[in-house]
Structures are given as C-alpha cells and as structure tokens.
Symmetry: C2
Subunit: 487 residues, 2 copies
Amino acid sequence: MSTSVSIPETKTFHMTPDEFRKRGYAVVDWIADYYARLETFPVLSRVEPGAIRRSLPKTAPVAGEAFETILAEVEKLILPGITHWQSPNFFAFFPGNASAPAILGDLLSSGLGVQGMLWATSPACTELETHVLDWLVHMLVLPQKFLSTEAGGGVIQDTASSASLCALLAARERATDFATNKRGCDGKLVAYTSSQAHSSIEKDVQIAGIGRDNLRSIAVDEKFAMRPDALARQIDQDRRAGLIPFFVCATVGTTSSNAIDPVPEIGAICQREKIWLHVDAAMSGTAALCPEFRYIHDGLEFADSYCFNPHKWMFTNFDCDCFYVADRKTLIKTLSVLPEYLRNKATETGAVIDYRDWQIPLGRRFRSLKLWFVIRHYGIEGLQHHVREHVRLAQEFAGWVKQDQRFELAAPVPLNLICLRAKGGDELNQSLLDRLNRSGDLYLTHTRLNDRLTLRMCIAQTNTQARHVKRAWQRIQEETEKLQSGK
Amino acid sequence: MSTSVSIPETKTFHMTPDEFRKRGYAVVDWIADYYARLETFPVLSRVEPGAIRRSLPKTAPVAGEAFETILAEVEKLILPGITHWQSPNFFAFFPGNASAPAILGDLLSSGLGVQGMLWATSPACTELETHVLDWLVHMLVLPQKFLSTEAGGGVIQDTASSASLCALLAARERATDFATNKRGCDGKLVAYTSSQAHSSIEKDVQIAGIGRDNLRSIAVDEKFAMRPDALARQIDQDRRAGLIPFFVCATVGTTSSNAIDPVPEIGAICQREKIWLHVDAAMSGTAALCPEFRYIHDGLEFADSYCFNPHKWMFTNFDCDCFYVADRKTLIKTLSVLPEYLRNKATETGAVIDYRDWQIPLGRRFRSLKLWFVIRHYGIEGLQHHVREHVRLAQEFAGWVKQDQRFELAAPVPLNLICLRAKGGDELNQSLLDRLNRSGDLYLTHTRLNDRLTLRMCIAQTNTQARHVKRAWQRIQEETEKLQSGK
C-alpha cells in the first residue's frame, strides 16, 4: 500500500444480522397471525379517501425509530386501509392468490438482493427462470416451440399488460422488418382483438405508437368469444384500404366473463395472413395443469406468443406473469439496446440469455425463486388438486344460481368465474353489490355484459373452502330477498 | 338456504399459519446467516453457462417436496450461481443496496398480497405511497410542484427505464394534443438526450413508436455533461426541417461516469421551446438528502418530470424508482384506459389516486411499505450519514488514484463513482479488470470514456466500510503491479 488512511468506524444505523433475525421473526409472526385471523376483517376496506394519509406524520422522522413502533403502526394505521385480497371471502377481480411457499421464496429473493438483467449479474437468477418456465411448458402441455431448448423460450414479466406490450412490439418489428424501431410508426399498422379483451391491449397500442384508432375491436358471439368470421372480414377490409394487419390478441378466459376465444380458427386466419398471434390466458391458463381443462389451449400451435399469470391463479404472489415466444430472436432483436457498461464476455459468447432483452425495463428481480418454491412445495398434484377444487366449487355455485328463479347466469361458466344477476335490472344489482361489499362478509366486483350490470364471482383464493362459497351464496340470497321485500 | 351441499374438507396441501411461522423463521435465519458470511463468497459468481440448469431436475415434481429440502437446495444449487450484489466488496454497475428494514417491509407486502392498481383495491397501498413520495420531496428539497398537494405527484415505478418511458409518453401526448394515442405516431416528433444518457432512453423511443432515428444524441463537454449550446443548435435545426422537438432527457449522475448535465441551461431552453424536460437522477438523486449535495438538482424547477432510485442508493431493495410529474393530469390522461370491470365509486368521485393510470402495467405491488420502513428505521439523519460516508470514501479513493502515478482518473468524481484507468491502454485495463473479478475479492465493471476502456468503482453498498474500500485499492494496485511486471 502506497497510501495511509485512518477512518474511524462510526455508528452504522444498520441492523446487525442478529437484530434482523429477531425482527424477521416478529414480521413472520405478524403474517402468520394475520392469516390466522383473516376472516375477522371486512374484506373491502371501509376507510374514507384521505383517512390513512391524515393518520401519518406530515414529514419524515429526523431520527430513526424503533422497529417495534413501525410494526405496531402497520397494525394500527395500515391494516384498516387494506382490502384483504388473501381473504377466503375475496371473490372480486381475479384471485391474486399468494401462498406460504411463494411468500418465503420472495423473501429469499429480497434477502439475496440480486439483479437479473444479465446472465452475468447472477447466473442462477437467469437459469432458474429459464428452467422453471420450461417446466411449465411440460406442466401445461404447451407447444414445444415455447421451450428454451427450441427456438422460443419463456420469461417472467410483471404483468400480462407488459407481456402483451412486448408481443405487440415484436410483432410491430417483424411486420416492418425492424424499420419501426428505427424510423418510428407511420400509422399504417393495424391490430385486432375482441371487444371483450383486456383493457391493456388498448393501452399497449397507445404506448407503442400504433394509436387506438388502429386497434379493431372484433365482435363476439353469444358466449362473448371472438367471431373468426368478423376478424377475417375486418382484416380483408383493412388490407383493401392499404393498411397492414400485424397483430391479433386472442383471449383464453376474458376478464369480464372468462370467455374463450376460438384460437384454432383465429390461428388459421393469422397463419394465412402472416399476422402475429398473441394468446392472453392471464386469468385462466393455469387450468391447463389438469388434463380435463387443456382444451382451453386448443390452437395454441398457431400462437407466436402466449402468457398466463401464476399471480392470478397459481399461489404465487404478485408479480409473476409467464410469457412465452415461439421465436426468441425476434423478441430480443426488438428490445435489445447494448451500451458499453453492460457488455460482458458471457453475453458475447451468445451462450447465455440476458433477460433484459426480453422485457421493457432493464433491472429485474429474482422472481423465479417464488415460482420454484410453489411448484416444489405443492407438486403438480397439489396444484391440480386446487385447480379442480376451484372449478368444482364454481360449477356447484353456478348450479345453485341456475336452480334459483330469482337469479340468472349472465354467461357460460367454463372454469372458475361465475357471472350472475338478480332478476330485476341494473339498479337492483348495483344495490345488491353495494350491500354485499359494505357488509364486509365478502367482496365481489362487476362487469357489463350485453349492456347489463353483472356480478362477477371468481373462486380461487388460496384459503377459500366450500363453506366460504356456500356462505357467499347464502349472503347473496339474503340481500336479494331484503331488496326485493323493500328492506 | 334453498340448496343443500355436502363437500368434504380434503387435504389442502397449504401450509398452516404455524407451519408458515416455523419455515419463515428458517428463511429469516438463512438470510441472517447469509449476511453474516457474505464476505466469504467470491463476489462474482464463477459458474459456467448452463451449470445451474444441469443441476436441476428436467421436470417438475409430481408430489410436493419438504420445505427443508427446497431450502437446502437454495444453499447447494442456487448460491454458487449468485453474484453477490449485497457484498461489501461489490463496486460494480450501481450499488443496489438492500437493507434489513427494506427486506422486512417487502416481506409484509408479500404477506398482505394486495393489489394497488386502484385506490379501492387497498386504500392504504395508494395513500402510503403518495404520502411517502411527498415526504421525499421535502427530504430531497425537490420543487414543490412535485407534491401531490400541488398539481403534480409521485409514484413508485419498477425502474428508471419505465419512469422515463412514462415521461416520454406524456410528453408525446402533450405535444400532439393527445392525437398520438388516438392515431399513432407519424415520424415527426424528435427527442433529445446526451451521448452519455442511459440506454433506456433509446429503448423508450423505440417502444413508443418515435424511432431511434428521431432521438438526437447531443454532444458532451470534457466532463461528459450535455452541452446546452449543442442542444439548442440541434433543436433549431430540427425545427427548420419541419420536425417537432418534444422531449429532452437530462441526466443527473450518468451511469458511465456520474456526469451531471447542466439542468439550469437545458431547462431554460426547454422552457423557451416548450419541450418536456425529464430529469433522470436514477444513480445520484439520493445525494440530495444532504444539503451539501443539493446543487445536483439546480434547475429542477424547469423539469416536467424527475426520477431517482432508492433501489440504487437508498437501502431499498429492488424494485423502487420514485417518479414525479409536475402535472399529473397530463400523465393520467396519457395512460388511462377505463374498462367497466375497474369502475368504482371512489374513482368516480375524483377524490382518489388510481396509480394504474401512472404506469405501464395495470397491477401493482405494495412497494411503499419497504420505503416507509427504510425512512423510519434510518431517519433522515441515518440516511444522510451513509450518503456522506459513501461520498467521503469515494473522494478518498479518488485521492489515492490521483496520487499514484501508475493510475489516472478518467472523469471527475462529483459523488460516489470513480472512473479510473491503469496507465497503459485497453488491453492492460481489460486484464486488470478480469484478474480482479476472477479473484472474487471484489467486483468492478467498466465503461468506455473518450473511447478508452475505463474501470468503474461505485461505492455505496450497505455494508461497505472503509476497510473494504482500502482493500479494493490494495488489490487494484497489486494486480496492476503483477501485470506491469509480466506476472
């Protein structure tokens, strides 16, 4: 050493590993207790807008505070503002079902604190992800082309919105021979999805510079599934107008009603027309774990890309969307920008995957750990058991609705989402929904089908059992009775 | 009840709260032990491409496995493939410094498992985020216009890449009176950033349909900071060519060399030209916690948007980028698409924030918990202490480089990143970098400045102390000596 330094070791403010251990136990205890008392909370938070903020100090503390104080305030200040997505009485939106192995896998990811943007920044982060996503190709019996050992491959995205955006961008570049990345959009590209597709497709076309005027909303049939004849007609009309059809998004399990677009027919059209087909199975793809539900993926051999969300129905906490492409080279060429400070030998060999080129952001978390934990903890048979149970409970619930003359099913129930109405118009159903949600006993959300207000009941929360579903039906019946008798 | 059901309670495969408690303790222990032995690992993983995958079974298990087995395999199979971002000897890329309170706040977020896409989906998730981001405006003394109580507001994004994409999109829509969202891009919009800006800006213009040909790379001065005269000239030239300048990204602390663009001059140009100014302080914004470093934000009063990354230098584990806009209405109008199934009363009152309209994806995690935990645990003075210590250590290191005739500084060292070279050309420096990283004693990355290979040493890991920095300098000197003497 040619230099001499003398730097005092000062107070660090950091927790020691043993302090972390003690406080970590306390947080684990808090979560365990939270799950044990989940059913005691009103599912939908009852706070008024601004109430949580008013309970918090206007400025940040100058001096550090005791961990015990912070944790106590989670209980006192934060908990009242929580809508309990993990409650067994949560039937709203999508299940978002976390589980113990997922939470613990995610904790390890936080603890390791590594970046997965490049293979080199933590090889295990990339390789475990590739490996688990290949596992899932086998588990769901997806087309082999989606395997990383073929020309395709899978990657974890935060959400299906981002997955469909990546698909849209790759499609855009394939259609323009990568000229759009270079020169920008020119208003000639046209995308297609059904009127029942997720709102993210509209957001994606706006983000990607395509413009929502260039997104065609294709009509659906009586089951709310895309009509292939209408798609073909629209494509033909657009071609004749000098436009360039380049992207179709089909949905397997729409958000509104779980409708399943006819992918074989749509796929044949896309193949003939050389249009990128993305299949969005965010809500429902998990069902394909069970052989009896694999029909939902019929036609997937036509797809250029596909996604489903373990954070929606596979016991994996947010965020975890599994996104697959049949041709990874196109995706990578679309999203790769390589500055000097990211260059490295492993990348240059071409022997590794750098997932930064498979997504919108650069940085990425070690998300495959939680997915690996879930798959290993439950095993394929544990996961199948629960998917079957959720579908069975939903079918049983649908049966009850059908048998009760005061109610009607608003859509077919292929899997675990029931769309129902009390007979009597939008006002009645809005009141019913409000009463149920205000009661705190359960939480349902709504949609509109055939321009009529419709209650959505989605069954797949981790801890939902038959008794919760039975109780939900009882409560729906009770409140409907009260409304009908003017109480 | 008009129906009768009899559903047996079957084996659930789920962990009970008490099983979760026991295994949660085990994971907390593993992490505590990991931090206690962090210095024993080679910082950069030594595995060969494919090695991790080969150690894993080809297919997923049919039957569930014991948690103890899974955790043991993290140690055995995953750990060798980890590049230790949390090591005190990690000086590569950016620090990515996690901390105990962040890990525990994130654990709570995983446990609660709520969605923050709408205010109603968990009011506390939205309100705590808004509140903590307002705290940070005060803590960093950012312009008041970024407060949610003014016309602006803050939101947590996954990364600065996504933040700058949102800024770019809002700028695009403001410049075209929201016509681009509707009709798509037309190739006339032009964006500007320096040749030293982060690669994500190029990626963003590609994603947004602007095209990289319409991104101007503005020349930098001898300190690698954007030249305002060159910016003004380019804008003028583009206007004369009939193009529409709409977006400038200035950088406060570039990734390559920590250069600080002259925001006051750039801002004045943007104001005059009515161009959206985004200031990317991902790497360095945290420094503004300390009054003596707040000069880095001079000129921020001109900015339409701004971001900095607590996951880069504020003890908050990934992902956590804080993104601010001066005019939230423009951002929201740019990114909002409202389908029926997301409509709700709270949203309709206009009294609440729905953060889904402030970001690319729809779903979002409760990320403000970890940030709240960090700020409260350390307090403003704890955070200031560490920022000062990191900068002091970096300045001391820079002094050593300057004093040693075998080395040179390749750029000014305003904060905590030192760019250096051993005198003797690219080959020598590449060998030096490879030897150091292969040794496992420390991890540095590189960049190119003035077309010469340059070592980057970034000092801000949570557990980095003076002794680690001193040892790093010693190792750099040793390996350089060996190389120069032909060993």
